[in-house]
Protein backbone atom coordinates (compact mmCIF):
# COMPACT_ATOMS: atom_id res chain seq x y z
CA UNK A 1 0.00 0.00 0.00
CA UNK A 2 1.46 3.39 -0.96
CA UNK A 3 1.04 6.59 1.03
CA UNK A 4 -1.09 9.37 -0.41
CA UNK A 5 2.02 11.53 -0.97
CA UNK A 6 3.71 8.76 -2.94
CA UNK A 7 0.49 8.17 -4.85
CA UNK A 8 0.23 11.84 -5.80
CA UNK A 9 3.87 11.89 -6.84
CA UNK A 10 3.28 8.86 -9.07
CA UNK A 11 0.21 10.46 -10.59
CA UNK A 12 2.18 13.64 -11.34
CA UNK A 13 4.98 11.64 -12.98
CA UNK A 14 2.50 9.68 -15.04
CA UNK A 15 0.68 12.83 -16.11
CA UNK A 16 3.96 14.42 -17.18
CA UNK A 17 5.00 11.30 -19.07
CA UNK A 18 1.63 11.18 -20.82
CA UNK A 19 1.92 14.80 -21.88
CA UNK A 20 5.40 14.16 -23.28
CA UNK A 21 4.08 11.17 -25.20
CA UNK A 22 1.12 13.14 -26.53
CA UNK A 23 3.53 15.84 -27.71
CA UNK A 24 5.74 13.22 -29.39
CA UNK A 25 2.66 11.73 -31.11
CA UNK A 26 1.65 15.17 -32.43
CA UNK A 27 5.23 15.81 -33.63
CA UNK A 28 5.47 12.42 -35.35
CA UNK A 29 2.05 12.09 -36.94
CA UNK A 30 0.66 15.63 -37.32
CA UNK A 31 3.63 17.97 -37.68
CA UNK A 32 5.78 15.43 -39.60
CA UNK A 33 3.37 12.90 -41.07
CA UNK A 34 5.69 11.75 -43.89
CA UNK A 35 6.81 8.12 -43.98
CA UNK A 36 10.53 7.47 -43.58
CA UNK A 37 12.42 6.43 -46.75
CA UNK A 38 11.91 2.70 -47.26
CA UNK A 39 14.05 0.23 -49.23
CA UNK A 40 17.01 2.56 -49.75
CA UNK A 41 19.82 -0.02 -50.09
CA UNK A 42 21.11 0.54 -53.65
CA UNK A 43 20.40 -2.22 -56.14
CA UNK A 44 20.65 -3.01 -59.80
CA UNK A 45 17.99 -4.84 -61.82
CA UNK A 46 19.88 -7.61 -63.59
CA UNK A 47 16.97 -9.57 -65.08
CA UNK A 48 13.30 -9.03 -65.85
CA UNK A 49 10.63 -11.44 -66.91
CA UNK A 50 7.18 -9.91 -67.10
CA UNK A 51 6.66 -8.36 -63.70
CA UNK A 52 9.35 -10.49 -62.06
CA UNK A 53 12.69 -8.78 -61.44
CA UNK A 54 15.99 -10.01 -60.09
CA UNK A 55 17.68 -7.34 -58.00
CA UNK A 56 21.34 -7.32 -57.02
CA UNK A 57 22.46 -5.48 -53.90
CA UNK A 58 26.13 -4.69 -53.70
CA UNK A 59 28.64 -5.92 -56.24
CA UNK A 60 31.45 -8.40 -56.82
CA UNK A 61 33.89 -5.81 -55.42
CA UNK A 62 32.12 -5.57 -52.06
CA UNK A 63 31.40 -9.31 -51.75
CA UNK A 64 33.80 -11.30 -49.58
CA UNK A 65 32.21 -14.68 -50.30
CA UNK A 66 32.20 -16.20 -53.77
CA UNK A 67 28.68 -17.64 -53.58
CA UNK A 68 25.79 -15.40 -54.56
CA UNK A 69 23.04 -15.30 -51.90
CA UNK A 70 19.63 -15.45 -53.60
CA UNK A 71 16.56 -14.57 -51.53
CA UNK A 72 13.28 -15.98 -52.82
CA UNK A 73 10.37 -14.40 -50.93
CA UNK A 74 6.69 -15.37 -50.85
CA UNK A 75 4.65 -15.20 -54.06
CA UNK A 76 1.84 -12.63 -53.82
CA UNK A 77 0.47 -11.62 -50.37
CA UNK A 78 2.71 -8.59 -49.76
CA UNK A 79 5.75 -6.79 -51.07
CA UNK A 80 9.31 -7.84 -50.35
CA UNK A 81 10.56 -4.38 -49.30
CA UNK A 82 10.10 -5.51 -45.70
CA UNK A 83 13.46 -7.22 -46.23
CA UNK A 84 15.03 -3.82 -46.74
CA UNK A 85 12.80 -1.78 -44.49
CA UNK A 86 14.98 0.97 -43.05
CA UNK A 87 18.71 1.69 -42.94
CA UNK A 88 20.02 -0.21 -39.93
CA UNK A 89 16.92 -2.41 -39.88
CA UNK A 90 17.32 -4.34 -43.10
CA UNK A 91 18.19 -8.00 -43.61
CA UNK A 92 19.48 -7.27 -47.10
CA UNK A 93 21.68 -4.39 -45.92
CA UNK A 94 23.05 -6.51 -43.07
CA UNK A 95 23.99 -9.45 -45.29
CA UNK A 96 25.50 -7.17 -47.95
CA UNK A 97 27.54 -5.35 -45.30
CA UNK A 98 28.79 -8.72 -44.05
CA UNK A 99 30.27 -9.55 -47.43
CA UNK A 100 27.47 -11.50 -49.14
CA UNK A 101 26.57 -10.88 -52.75
CA UNK A 102 22.82 -10.53 -52.18
CA UNK A 103 20.15 -11.01 -54.83
CA UNK A 104 16.39 -10.68 -54.37
CA UNK A 105 13.74 -12.21 -56.60
CA UNK A 106 10.88 -9.70 -56.70
CA UNK A 107 7.74 -11.40 -58.05
CA UNK A 108 6.14 -8.01 -58.82
CA UNK A 109 2.61 -6.82 -58.29
CA UNK A 110 0.37 -9.78 -58.96
CA UNK A 111 -2.97 -9.02 -60.62
CA UNK A 112 -5.76 -10.78 -62.51
CA UNK A 113 -3.70 -11.20 -65.69
CA UNK A 114 -1.29 -13.43 -63.72
CA UNK A 115 -4.00 -15.98 -62.97
CA UNK A 116 -2.14 -18.81 -64.73
CA UNK A 117 1.04 -18.40 -62.67
CA UNK A 118 1.36 -21.49 -60.51
CA UNK A 119 3.98 -23.73 -58.89
CA UNK A 120 4.98 -25.06 -62.34
CA UNK A 121 5.94 -21.71 -63.84
CA UNK A 122 7.68 -20.59 -60.66
CA UNK A 123 9.66 -23.83 -60.22
CA UNK A 124 10.44 -24.73 -63.85
CA UNK A 125 10.74 -21.34 -65.50
CA UNK A 126 11.38 -18.50 -63.09
CA UNK A 127 13.62 -19.98 -60.38
CA UNK A 128 16.10 -21.74 -62.72
CA UNK A 129 16.51 -18.58 -64.79
CA UNK A 130 16.94 -16.36 -61.75
CA UNK A 131 19.60 -18.74 -60.40
CA UNK A 132 21.43 -18.77 -63.74
CA UNK A 133 21.34 -14.97 -64.01
CA UNK A 134 22.61 -14.51 -60.45
CA UNK A 135 25.50 -16.95 -61.04
CA UNK A 136 26.31 -15.30 -64.33
CA UNK A 137 26.36 -11.81 -62.75
CA UNK A 138 28.59 -13.03 -59.92
CA UNK A 139 30.77 -15.25 -62.08
CA UNK A 140 30.01 -18.14 -59.70
CA UNK A 141 29.35 -21.81 -60.34
CA UNK A 142 27.12 -22.33 -57.31
CA UNK A 143 24.70 -20.38 -55.16
CA UNK A 144 23.12 -20.18 -51.71
CA UNK A 145 19.32 -20.25 -51.93
CA UNK A 146 17.29 -18.59 -49.17
CA UNK A 147 13.53 -19.21 -49.29
CA UNK A 148 11.30 -17.09 -47.09
CA UNK A 149 7.78 -18.20 -46.18
CA UNK A 150 6.13 -19.60 -49.35
CA UNK A 151 9.34 -18.76 -51.21
CA UNK A 152 10.87 -21.51 -49.06
CA UNK A 153 8.17 -23.94 -50.16
CA UNK A 154 8.82 -23.06 -53.81
CA UNK A 155 12.59 -23.35 -53.31
CA UNK A 156 12.15 -26.77 -51.67
CA UNK A 157 10.11 -27.92 -54.69
CA UNK A 158 12.82 -26.62 -57.03
CA UNK A 159 15.58 -28.40 -55.10
CA UNK A 160 13.65 -31.66 -54.90
CA UNK A 161 13.22 -31.61 -58.67
CA UNK A 162 16.80 -30.46 -59.37
CA UNK A 163 18.97 -32.28 -56.82
CA UNK A 164 22.04 -31.85 -59.05
CA UNK A 165 21.42 -28.16 -59.58
CA UNK A 166 23.94 -25.47 -58.69
CA UNK A 167 22.58 -24.80 -55.19
CA UNK A 168 25.25 -25.46 -52.56
CA UNK A 169 23.33 -24.33 -49.44
CA UNK A 170 19.66 -23.97 -48.65
CA UNK A 171 18.28 -21.64 -45.99
CA UNK A 172 14.53 -21.93 -45.29
CA UNK A 173 13.07 -19.23 -43.06
CA UNK A 174 9.50 -19.62 -41.70
CA UNK A 175 8.76 -21.78 -44.74
CA UNK A 176 5.62 -23.94 -44.44
CA UNK A 177 6.22 -27.59 -45.32
CA UNK A 178 3.86 -29.49 -43.03
CA UNK A 179 0.54 -27.84 -43.79
CA UNK A 180 -1.32 -29.99 -41.26
CA UNK A 181 0.38 -27.75 -38.70
CA UNK A 182 -0.65 -24.66 -40.66
CA UNK A 183 -2.50 -22.90 -37.83
CA UNK A 184 -5.73 -21.07 -38.46
CA UNK A 185 -5.29 -20.95 -42.23
CA UNK A 186 -5.43 -24.75 -42.17
CA UNK A 187 -8.89 -24.54 -40.55
CA UNK A 188 -10.22 -21.69 -42.67
CA UNK A 189 -9.06 -23.15 -45.98
CA UNK A 190 -10.80 -26.46 -45.24
CA UNK A 191 -11.83 -27.89 -48.60
CA UNK A 192 -15.29 -28.71 -47.23
CA UNK A 193 -16.15 -25.06 -46.66
CA UNK A 194 -13.76 -22.66 -48.36
CA UNK A 195 -14.91 -21.66 -51.87
CA UNK A 196 -11.40 -21.40 -53.40
CA UNK A 197 -12.61 -22.24 -56.91
CA UNK A 198 -15.34 -19.61 -56.78
CA UNK A 199 -12.85 -16.97 -55.67
CA UNK A 200 -10.46 -17.86 -58.49
CA UNK A 201 -13.31 -17.92 -61.00
CA UNK A 202 -14.57 -14.53 -59.86
CA UNK A 203 -11.29 -12.67 -59.38
CA UNK A 204 -8.66 -14.72 -61.25
CA UNK A 205 -6.85 -15.18 -57.94
CA UNK A 206 -7.05 -14.07 -54.37
CA UNK A 207 -7.44 -10.28 -54.54
CA UNK A 208 -5.43 -7.97 -52.33
CA UNK A 209 -8.54 -6.91 -50.41
CA UNK A 210 -9.42 -10.49 -49.40
CA UNK A 211 -5.78 -11.22 -48.67
CA UNK A 212 -5.64 -8.25 -46.32
CA UNK A 213 -8.90 -9.22 -44.62
CA UNK A 214 -7.66 -12.78 -44.12
CA UNK A 215 -4.38 -11.74 -42.52
CA UNK A 216 -6.04 -9.15 -40.30
CA UNK A 217 -8.61 -11.71 -39.18
CA UNK A 218 -5.79 -13.98 -38.06
CA UNK A 219 -5.04 -11.56 -35.26
CA UNK A 220 -7.87 -9.00 -34.92
CA UNK A 221 -6.26 -7.27 -31.94
CA UNK A 222 -2.87 -6.79 -33.61
CA UNK A 223 -3.44 -3.18 -34.62
CA UNK A 224 -4.74 -2.23 -31.17
CA UNK A 225 -1.68 -3.93 -29.66
CA UNK A 226 0.62 -2.10 -32.08
CA UNK A 227 -0.96 1.26 -31.21
CA UNK A 228 -0.74 0.46 -27.53
CA UNK A 229 2.97 -0.37 -27.92
CA UNK A 230 3.45 2.85 -29.90
CA UNK A 231 2.02 4.90 -27.03
CA UNK A 232 4.38 3.22 -24.59
CA UNK A 233 7.46 3.66 -26.82
CA UNK A 234 6.77 6.81 -28.79
CA UNK A 235 9.68 8.66 -27.15
CA UNK A 236 12.23 5.92 -27.91
CA UNK A 237 14.66 6.94 -30.67
CA UNK A 238 13.82 5.32 -33.99
CA UNK A 239 10.62 3.67 -32.78
CA UNK A 240 8.22 5.93 -34.68
CA UNK A 241 10.10 5.48 -37.97
CA UNK A 242 10.00 1.69 -37.55
CA UNK A 243 6.29 1.88 -36.67
CA UNK A 244 5.49 4.00 -39.72
CA UNK A 245 7.52 1.82 -42.07
CA UNK A 246 6.05 -1.42 -40.71
CA UNK A 247 2.48 -0.01 -40.76
CA UNK A 248 2.92 1.03 -44.36
CA UNK A 249 4.16 -2.43 -45.31
CA UNK A 250 1.56 -4.27 -43.24
CA UNK A 251 -1.27 -2.57 -45.13
CA UNK A 252 0.30 -2.89 -48.56
CA UNK A 253 -1.16 -6.22 -49.66
CA UNK A 254 -1.04 -7.67 -53.15
CA UNK A 255 -3.04 -10.52 -54.62
CA UNK A 256 -2.09 -14.13 -55.22
CA UNK A 257 -2.27 -15.71 -58.69
CA UNK A 258 -5.29 -17.97 -59.20
CA UNK A 259 -3.42 -21.13 -60.15
CA UNK A 260 -0.96 -20.79 -57.30
CA UNK A 261 -3.73 -20.08 -54.79
CA UNK A 262 -5.72 -23.09 -56.00
CA UNK A 263 -2.71 -25.39 -55.58
CA UNK A 264 -1.87 -23.89 -52.21
CA UNK A 265 -5.37 -24.16 -50.75
CA UNK A 266 -6.28 -27.57 -52.19
CA UNK A 267 -3.05 -29.54 -52.40
CA UNK A 268 -1.07 -27.95 -49.57
CA UNK A 269 -3.49 -26.76 -46.89
CA UNK A 270 -6.21 -29.23 -47.94
CA UNK A 271 -4.25 -32.45 -48.47
CA UNK A 272 -0.70 -31.72 -47.26
CA UNK A 273 0.64 -33.33 -50.42
CA UNK A 274 4.14 -31.86 -50.32
CA UNK A 275 5.07 -33.56 -47.08
CA UNK A 276 3.30 -36.81 -47.92
CA UNK A 277 5.26 -37.06 -51.18
CA UNK A 278 2.17 -36.91 -53.40
CA UNK A 279 2.67 -33.45 -54.84
CA UNK A 280 3.39 -33.54 -58.56
CA UNK A 281 4.45 -30.83 -60.96
CA UNK A 282 4.35 -31.42 -64.72
CA UNK A 283 3.97 -35.13 -64.01
CA UNK A 284 7.02 -35.33 -61.71
CA UNK A 285 6.70 -36.14 -58.04
CA UNK A 286 8.24 -33.60 -55.70
CA UNK A 287 10.21 -35.84 -53.35
CA UNK A 288 11.75 -33.80 -50.55
CA UNK A 289 14.09 -36.72 -49.73
CA UNK A 290 16.06 -35.78 -52.83
CA UNK A 291 17.24 -32.57 -51.15
CA UNK A 292 20.74 -33.28 -49.90
CA UNK A 293 22.26 -29.79 -49.62
CA UNK A 294 23.39 -28.38 -46.28
CA UNK A 295 20.18 -27.01 -44.78
CA UNK A 296 19.37 -24.34 -42.21
CA UNK A 297 15.71 -24.14 -41.14
CA UNK A 298 14.60 -21.17 -39.04
CA UNK A 299 11.21 -20.85 -37.39
CA UNK A 300 9.68 -18.21 -35.10
CA UNK A 301 8.35 -19.15 -31.70
CA UNK A 302 5.36 -16.75 -31.86
CA UNK A 303 4.52 -17.38 -35.50
CA UNK A 304 0.77 -17.92 -35.93
CA UNK A 305 0.94 -17.86 -39.75
CA UNK A 306 3.51 -20.65 -40.10
CA UNK A 307 3.77 -22.22 -36.64
CA UNK A 308 7.21 -23.62 -35.84
CA UNK A 309 6.20 -27.31 -36.32
CA UNK A 310 5.01 -26.50 -39.86
CA UNK A 311 8.48 -25.21 -40.74
CA UNK A 312 10.44 -27.74 -38.72
CA UNK A 313 9.17 -30.73 -40.73
CA UNK A 314 11.58 -29.90 -43.57
CA UNK A 315 14.45 -31.08 -41.38
CA UNK A 316 13.03 -34.61 -41.16
CA UNK A 317 11.87 -34.69 -44.76
CA UNK A 318 15.24 -34.14 -46.46
CA UNK A 319 18.26 -36.43 -46.70
CA UNK A 320 20.89 -33.73 -46.00
CA UNK A 321 23.63 -34.84 -43.65
CA UNK A 322 24.44 -31.27 -42.62
CA UNK A 323 21.22 -29.76 -41.32
CA UNK A 324 20.23 -27.48 -38.47
CA UNK A 325 16.98 -26.20 -37.03
CA UNK A 326 16.70 -23.00 -35.00
CA UNK A 327 13.60 -21.62 -33.33
CA UNK A 328 14.06 -17.92 -32.68
CA UNK A 329 11.98 -15.42 -30.71
CA UNK A 330 9.54 -13.34 -32.74
CA UNK A 331 6.62 -13.59 -35.06
CA UNK A 332 6.36 -14.54 -38.72
CA UNK A 333 7.67 -11.19 -39.97
CA UNK A 334 9.53 -9.82 -36.97
CA UNK A 335 11.83 -12.86 -36.93
CA UNK A 336 13.54 -11.53 -40.07
CA UNK A 337 12.66 -7.84 -40.03
CA UNK A 338 12.11 -6.90 -36.40
CA UNK A 339 14.43 -4.95 -34.15
CA UNK A 340 15.79 -8.13 -32.53
CA UNK A 341 16.61 -9.82 -35.88
CA UNK A 342 20.07 -8.21 -36.08
CA UNK A 343 20.95 -10.08 -32.88
CA UNK A 344 19.23 -13.37 -33.72
CA UNK A 345 18.45 -14.47 -37.27
CA UNK A 346 20.80 -12.32 -39.34
CA UNK A 347 24.02 -13.23 -37.48
CA UNK A 348 22.91 -16.86 -37.48
CA UNK A 349 22.49 -16.85 -41.26
CA UNK A 350 25.74 -14.95 -41.74
CA UNK A 351 27.69 -17.38 -39.57
CA UNK A 352 26.08 -20.51 -41.06
CA UNK A 353 26.40 -19.43 -44.70
CA UNK A 354 29.92 -17.98 -44.31
CA UNK A 355 31.16 -21.31 -42.98
CA UNK A 356 29.79 -23.02 -46.09
CA UNK A 357 30.68 -20.45 -48.73
CA UNK A 358 34.43 -20.83 -49.04
Amino acid sequence: MVSSAEFMSQVQQDALKSMQRAQAMVDSFVTNPADPPIGVTPYEVIWKRGKTRLLRYGSAETARYPLPYLIVPWLGISRPYVLDLLPGNSMIEYLAQHGHDVYLLDWGEIAEEDKDLGFEEAVFKILPRAIDRAMEASGAQEITLNGLCLGGTLSACYLALNPDGPVRNFVAVVAPINFDEGGMFRVWLDEKYFPADLIVQRYGGLPASLMGAGFKMLRPTLEAQALSALWANVDRPGYVDSFKAMSKWANDFIGMPGRFFGQLSREMYGQNRLLSGEFTLNGRTVDLKRIAQPLLVAAASQDYIVPAPAARSLIDAVSSADKEFVELPGGHISVFSGRQAHQTLWPKIDEWVSARSA
Binding site: Q10, K125, F194, Q225, S228, N282
Partner: protein, 220 residues
Protein backbone atom coordinates in the same frame (compact mmCIF):
# COMPACT_ATOMS: atom_id res chain seq x y z
CA UNK B 1 -25.77 7.03 -17.05
CA UNK B 2 -27.79 4.35 -15.29
CA UNK B 3 -27.19 0.67 -15.69
CA UNK B 4 -29.01 -2.36 -14.43
CA UNK B 5 -27.79 -3.93 -11.20
CA UNK B 6 -26.08 -2.31 -8.29
CA UNK B 7 -22.48 -2.90 -9.34
CA UNK B 8 -20.07 0.03 -9.41
CA UNK B 9 -16.99 -1.93 -10.53
CA UNK B 10 -16.00 -0.48 -13.92
CA UNK B 11 -14.98 -3.90 -15.18
CA UNK B 12 -18.36 -5.40 -14.33
CA UNK B 13 -20.11 -2.45 -15.98
CA UNK B 14 -17.99 -3.04 -19.07
CA UNK B 15 -18.88 -6.74 -19.01
CA UNK B 16 -22.57 -5.95 -18.70
CA UNK B 17 -22.36 -3.54 -21.62
CA UNK B 18 -20.61 -6.17 -23.73
CA UNK B 19 -23.17 -8.79 -22.82
CA UNK B 20 -26.05 -6.53 -23.85
CA UNK B 21 -24.41 -5.45 -27.08
CA UNK B 22 -23.56 -9.03 -27.99
CA UNK B 23 -27.19 -10.05 -27.38
CA UNK B 24 -28.39 -7.20 -29.57
CA UNK B 25 -25.84 -8.11 -32.23
CA UNK B 26 -26.83 -11.76 -32.14
CA UNK B 27 -30.52 -10.87 -32.48
CA UNK B 28 -29.75 -8.71 -35.48
CA UNK B 29 -27.55 -11.43 -36.95
CA UNK B 30 -30.27 -14.03 -36.46
CA UNK B 31 -32.52 -11.96 -38.73
CA UNK B 32 -29.85 -11.58 -41.41
CA UNK B 33 -30.77 -13.50 -44.52
CA UNK B 34 -27.83 -12.73 -46.77
CA UNK B 35 -27.86 -10.47 -49.78
CA UNK B 36 -31.02 -10.83 -51.89
CA UNK B 37 -30.69 -12.06 -55.48
CA UNK B 38 -30.36 -9.30 -57.99
CA UNK B 39 -33.77 -8.18 -59.16
CA UNK B 40 -35.60 -10.16 -56.45
CA UNK B 41 -37.47 -7.08 -55.34
CA UNK B 42 -38.88 -4.64 -57.92
CA UNK B 43 -38.06 -1.03 -57.19
CA UNK B 44 -39.91 0.23 -54.13
CA UNK B 45 -41.13 -3.19 -52.97
CA UNK B 46 -38.21 -4.25 -50.74
CA UNK B 47 -39.72 -5.66 -47.53
CA UNK B 48 -38.07 -3.70 -44.74
CA UNK B 49 -37.53 -4.95 -41.20
CA UNK B 50 -35.40 -7.59 -39.54
CA UNK B 51 -35.89 -10.99 -41.09
CA UNK B 52 -38.45 -9.70 -43.56
CA UNK B 53 -36.78 -11.49 -46.43
CA UNK B 54 -36.32 -14.85 -44.69
CA UNK B 55 -38.11 -17.70 -46.36
CA UNK B 56 -38.66 -15.83 -49.59
CA UNK B 57 -34.95 -15.47 -50.22
CA UNK B 58 -33.19 -18.42 -51.89
CA UNK B 59 -29.89 -16.95 -50.70
CA UNK B 60 -30.82 -17.35 -47.05
CA UNK B 61 -27.82 -18.63 -45.05
CA UNK B 62 -27.52 -22.43 -45.18
CA UNK B 63 -26.18 -22.48 -41.61
CA UNK B 64 -28.65 -22.11 -38.77
CA UNK B 65 -28.72 -18.59 -37.36
CA UNK B 66 -28.46 -20.09 -33.89
CA UNK B 67 -24.99 -21.36 -34.74
CA UNK B 68 -23.74 -17.85 -35.31
CA UNK B 69 -25.35 -16.67 -32.10
CA UNK B 70 -23.86 -19.57 -30.16
CA UNK B 71 -20.44 -19.02 -31.70
CA UNK B 72 -20.32 -15.38 -30.69
CA UNK B 73 -21.93 -15.96 -27.33
CA UNK B 74 -19.23 -18.55 -26.65
CA UNK B 75 -16.63 -16.04 -27.73
CA UNK B 76 -17.85 -13.34 -25.36
CA UNK B 77 -18.18 -15.79 -22.49
CA UNK B 78 -14.64 -17.04 -22.99
CA UNK B 79 -13.31 -13.52 -23.38
CA UNK B 80 -15.08 -12.32 -20.23
CA UNK B 81 -13.71 -15.28 -18.31
CA UNK B 82 -10.13 -14.75 -19.47
CA UNK B 83 -10.28 -10.99 -18.97
CA UNK B 84 -11.75 -11.47 -15.51
CA UNK B 85 -8.86 -13.76 -14.66
CA UNK B 86 -6.33 -11.24 -16.02
CA UNK B 87 -8.00 -8.46 -14.02
CA UNK B 88 -8.01 -10.44 -10.79
CA UNK B 89 -4.26 -11.09 -11.16
CA UNK B 90 -3.50 -7.41 -11.85
CA UNK B 91 -2.54 -5.09 -9.00
CA UNK B 92 -5.39 -2.62 -9.70
CA UNK B 93 -5.50 0.60 -11.71
CA UNK B 94 -3.68 2.77 -9.19
CA UNK B 95 -1.47 4.44 -11.72
CA UNK B 96 -1.45 4.88 -15.47
CA UNK B 97 1.27 2.27 -15.82
CA UNK B 98 -0.99 -0.26 -14.14
CA UNK B 99 -3.87 0.82 -16.36
CA UNK B 100 -1.69 0.33 -19.42
CA UNK B 101 -0.56 -3.08 -18.20
CA UNK B 102 -4.16 -4.09 -17.66
CA UNK B 103 -5.12 -2.84 -21.10
CA UNK B 104 -2.32 -4.94 -22.62
CA UNK B 105 -3.51 -7.96 -20.65
CA UNK B 106 -7.06 -7.38 -21.85
CA UNK B 107 -5.86 -7.22 -25.46
CA UNK B 108 -3.92 -10.45 -25.01
CA UNK B 109 -6.94 -12.13 -23.42
CA UNK B 110 -9.10 -10.89 -26.27
CA UNK B 111 -6.59 -12.17 -28.86
CA UNK B 112 -6.54 -15.58 -27.16
CA UNK B 113 -10.31 -15.87 -27.17
CA UNK B 114 -10.58 -14.64 -30.76
CA UNK B 115 -8.05 -17.32 -31.73
CA UNK B 116 -10.00 -19.97 -29.82
CA UNK B 117 -13.29 -19.04 -31.45
CA UNK B 118 -11.97 -18.62 -34.96
CA UNK B 119 -10.05 -21.87 -35.05
CA UNK B 120 -13.25 -23.91 -34.77
CA UNK B 121 -14.93 -25.79 -37.58
CA UNK B 122 -18.11 -23.79 -36.94
CA UNK B 123 -16.32 -20.56 -37.70
CA UNK B 124 -14.71 -22.06 -40.78
CA UNK B 125 -18.14 -23.18 -42.03
CA UNK B 126 -19.66 -19.78 -41.31
CA UNK B 127 -16.82 -17.99 -43.10
CA UNK B 128 -16.99 -20.33 -46.09
CA UNK B 129 -20.74 -19.95 -46.45
CA UNK B 130 -20.58 -16.19 -46.14
CA UNK B 131 -17.89 -15.99 -48.82
CA UNK B 132 -19.79 -18.39 -51.06
CA UNK B 133 -23.00 -16.40 -50.77
CA UNK B 134 -21.25 -13.12 -51.47
CA UNK B 135 -19.40 -14.53 -54.47
CA UNK B 136 -22.52 -16.09 -56.00
CA UNK B 137 -24.37 -12.84 -55.51
CA UNK B 138 -21.53 -10.82 -57.03
CA UNK B 139 -21.37 -13.21 -59.97
CA UNK B 140 -25.08 -12.74 -60.65
CA UNK B 141 -24.69 -8.99 -60.39
CA UNK B 142 -21.78 -9.11 -62.82
CA UNK B 143 -23.68 -11.33 -65.26
CA UNK B 144 -26.52 -8.86 -65.34
CA UNK B 145 -24.37 -5.74 -65.47
CA UNK B 146 -21.54 -6.80 -67.79
CA UNK B 147 -23.46 -6.83 -71.10
CA UNK B 148 -24.64 -3.28 -70.44
CA UNK B 149 -21.15 -2.13 -69.45
CA UNK B 150 -19.66 -3.78 -72.55
CA UNK B 151 -22.29 -2.13 -74.76
CA UNK B 152 -21.55 1.26 -73.21
CA UNK B 153 -17.79 0.80 -73.71
CA UNK B 154 -18.38 -0.28 -77.31
CA UNK B 155 -20.44 2.85 -77.90
CA UNK B 156 -17.45 4.92 -76.81
CA UNK B 157 -15.07 2.75 -78.84
CA UNK B 158 -13.30 1.53 -75.69
CA UNK B 159 -12.09 -2.04 -75.02
CA UNK B 160 -14.02 -4.17 -72.53
CA UNK B 161 -12.46 -5.90 -69.53
CA UNK B 162 -12.48 -9.29 -71.23
CA UNK B 163 -10.78 -7.82 -74.32
CA UNK B 164 -8.05 -6.27 -72.17
CA UNK B 165 -7.64 -9.63 -70.37
CA UNK B 166 -7.17 -11.39 -73.69
CA UNK B 167 -4.67 -8.75 -74.80
CA UNK B 168 -2.66 -9.21 -71.58
CA UNK B 169 -2.73 -12.97 -72.11
CA UNK B 170 -1.26 -12.54 -75.59
CA UNK B 171 1.41 -10.12 -74.37
CA UNK B 172 2.42 -12.58 -71.65
CA UNK B 173 2.60 -15.36 -74.25
CA UNK B 174 4.79 -13.26 -76.56
CA UNK B 175 7.03 -12.29 -73.66
CA UNK B 176 7.46 -15.96 -72.79
CA UNK B 177 8.45 -16.84 -76.34
CA UNK B 178 10.96 -13.99 -76.37
CA UNK B 179 12.39 -15.23 -73.10
CA UNK B 180 12.77 -18.73 -74.56
CA UNK B 181 14.50 -17.32 -77.64
CA UNK B 182 16.80 -15.26 -75.44
CA UNK B 183 17.70 -18.39 -73.46
CA UNK B 184 18.49 -20.28 -76.64
CA UNK B 185 20.63 -17.40 -77.88
CA UNK B 186 22.53 -17.27 -74.61
CA UNK B 187 23.19 -21.00 -74.77
CA UNK B 188 24.47 -20.75 -78.35
CA UNK B 189 26.70 -17.78 -77.42
CA UNK B 190 28.10 -19.60 -74.39
CA UNK B 191 28.82 -22.71 -76.46
CA UNK B 192 30.44 -20.63 -79.20
CA UNK B 193 32.62 -18.75 -76.75
CA UNK B 194 33.59 -21.97 -75.06
CA UNK B 195 34.33 -23.69 -78.36
CA UNK B 196 36.57 -20.78 -79.38
CA UNK B 197 38.54 -21.00 -76.15
CA UNK B 198 38.90 -24.78 -75.93
CA UNK B 199 37.82 -26.41 -79.17
CA UNK B 200 38.10 -29.89 -77.69
CA UNK B 201 35.85 -29.24 -74.72
CA UNK B 202 32.11 -28.95 -74.91
CA UNK B 203 30.51 -25.96 -73.22
CA UNK B 204 28.65 -26.54 -70.01
CA UNK B 205 24.94 -25.89 -70.19
CA UNK B 206 23.40 -24.01 -67.24
CA UNK B 207 23.30 -26.49 -64.36
CA UNK B 208 20.03 -25.23 -63.03
CA UNK B 209 18.15 -26.22 -66.18
CA UNK B 210 15.84 -29.10 -65.40
CA UNK B 211 14.76 -31.50 -68.15
CA UNK B 212 11.50 -29.54 -68.36
CA UNK B 213 13.30 -26.26 -68.73
CA UNK B 214 15.53 -27.65 -71.41
CA UNK B 215 12.55 -29.08 -73.24
CA UNK B 216 10.44 -25.98 -73.08
CA UNK B 217 13.14 -23.96 -74.79
CA UNK B 218 12.76 -26.03 -77.93
CA UNK B 219 10.58 -24.39 -80.54
CA UNK B 220 7.02 -25.65 -80.29
Amino acid sequence: MTTSGSTTNPFELWQEMLRKSSEAWSQTAAGFAGPPPFGAYPFGSFPFGAGAGVGANPFAPPFAAADMQQTWQAFFNAWSEQTGKAMSDAPGPQTMQDAQRQWTQQLEAMAATFAETMSTEDFSRMLGKYLEQTLVWQERMAQQANPQIDAALRAYNLPSRSQIDRLFGRIIGIEERLEDLEDELRKVRTELASARRTPATRARTPRSASPETAGENDPA
